[in-house]
């Protein structure tokens, strides 16, 4: 029993991100409204970002900024004391890029609305087929 609990405690963060990711995927697959699809895409991206950040964590580690006060520079930094900086670097750029892609997606949605006067996918498809 205690083994099961320790397994849950060690992995539940991944399960939360998978749940979040599946909510985003469900919105992208089944929602009819294009803006809801874009929101689903953003939820999906957030799940990936959280997943990467949690990969970077280390038990007993602090933020990856080397201490450099008076006399602190004399001893070398030990990797076990600081959390992994690499996922943070990747996600730092990914967050800004996700905002930029959100802007492009919304711009496309505006263009589609101007052309078809609707954002519902089935109405747009019927208009395309009707012509």
């Amino acid at each position: 029993m205690s083994q099961v609990i320790s397994e849950v405690l060690a992995k539940y963060n991944y399960w939360i991100y998978i749940t979040l990711m599946m909510i985003g995927l469900y919105a992208m697959i089944t929602k009819n409204n294009l803006v809801k699809k874009i929101v689903g895409m953003n939820i999906f991206q957030t799940a990936i970002i959280l997943y990467y950040v949690s990969i970077g964590s280390k038990k007993g580690g602090t933020i990856p900024i080397i201490e450099h006060g008076h006399g602190a520079g004399t001893h070398a930094a030990r990797a076990a004391e600081y959390i992994n900086p690499l996922p943070h670097v990747l996600m730092l750029t990914a967050i800004v890029v996700s905002v930029a892609t959100l802007g492009v997606a919304l711009a496309l949605a505006i263009k589609i609305y101007n052309r078809y006067q609707t954002l519902e996918e089935d109405e747009i498809l019927s208009q395309i087929r009707g012509k």
Binding site: N13, K58, H68, T93, V96, V104
Partner: protein, 276 residues
């Protein structure tokens, strides 16, 4: 369709949760992600670049190419928004609302193309958003300089504390966007014009790539900031620190300009006239 979608999503979720059995435990210091290249970054960052914030040194130096092309992606997204939405030469909507400032009476002018936006006793207001909110306007006017000061601090202090070009650039862009939201879009475009913004957007990427090219012309690899040492009159390790700072400034300018550009284009649907 909904049932098939739900089935696909649940199946994918179950498979992914099943796969987590092979994942490292949360916070495991010996996990594969933390054992190969990341210890080297942490242990050598101070020695090789003089930058205590490992995230900054990895971002701009060890993985400089990656960041340069991320900046290019952001620039491309801004250009894509512009190409998709911007309608050149359109004079805005024909119908405009003007508020008589002393009395607060709003008048609607049909075909207002020849009426100037600024009149002695009238101010132009958006057709969709009419209420006049003095508290929000005043609060934002007081806050915006401090937001910008903080953004510059975040960019400049990225070597020693959490921060850097991306974060500072976003805050700087947000200060202009707050201006556009609290007043109106025209007030923010008066202060941050479209052409200036487009120029800054490209200039940020140019500063980044130009720093790399400068290193190349000094006889080292592209983005190897140690080559800048003779120009900056310091040792190669310190030159890396300054090189990272130059690159961060470029990133900050590019990100700021792109955020403003995307907001201006999307909120006004490319007309640059009436926004949110």
């Amino acid at each position: 369709m909904k049932k098939i979608g739900l089935l696909i999503v649940i199946l994918t979720g179950v498979f992914l949760i099943y796969a987590t059995a092979d994942f490292p435990r949360w916070g495991d210091p010996a996990s594969p992600a933390s054992t190969h290249v990341s210890p080297r970054y942490i242990e050598k960052s101070m020695e090789e670049t003089e930058v205590p914030n490992v995230v900054t040194s990895v971002l701009a130096d060890y993985r400089g190419y990656d960041t340069m092309f991320e900046t290019t992606v952001i620039f491309a997204a801004g250009v894509a928004c512009f190409i998709l939405l911007r309608i050149p030469g359109s004079g805005g909507p024909e119908e405009r609302l003007y508020r008589h400032v002393p009395t607060g009476i709003t008048i609607r002018v049909k075909d207002a193309r020849n009426v100037p936006s600024r009149l002695a006793q009238f101010e132009r207001i958006d057709t969709l958003w009419v209420p006049h909110d003095l508290i929000i306007k005043t609060a934002c006017r007081i806050l915006i300089p401090f937001i910008q000061l903080f953004a510059l601090y975040v960019i400049a202090h990225g070597h020693h504390s959490p921060g850097g070009g991306f974060q500072g650039g976003v805050i700087l862009g947000a200060s202009i966007i707050v201006m556009a939201m609290s007043h109106d879009l025209r007030a923010s475009i008066e202060r941050m014009g479209e052409k200036v913004n487009a120029l800054l957007c490209a200039a940020g990427v140019f500063i980044y790539a130009g720093t790399g090219a400068l290193c190349l012309s000094m006889g080292r690899n592209f983005l190897d900031y140690a080559a800048l040492a003779p120009l900056l009159h310091c040792d190669p390790v310190m030159a890396r620190s300054y090189g990272i700072f130059m690159v961060e400034i470029g990133v900050g300018i590019a990100v700021m300009a792109t955020m403003i550009r995307i907001y201006d284009n999307v909120s006004s649907a490319g007309k640059y006239d009436e926004g949110l």
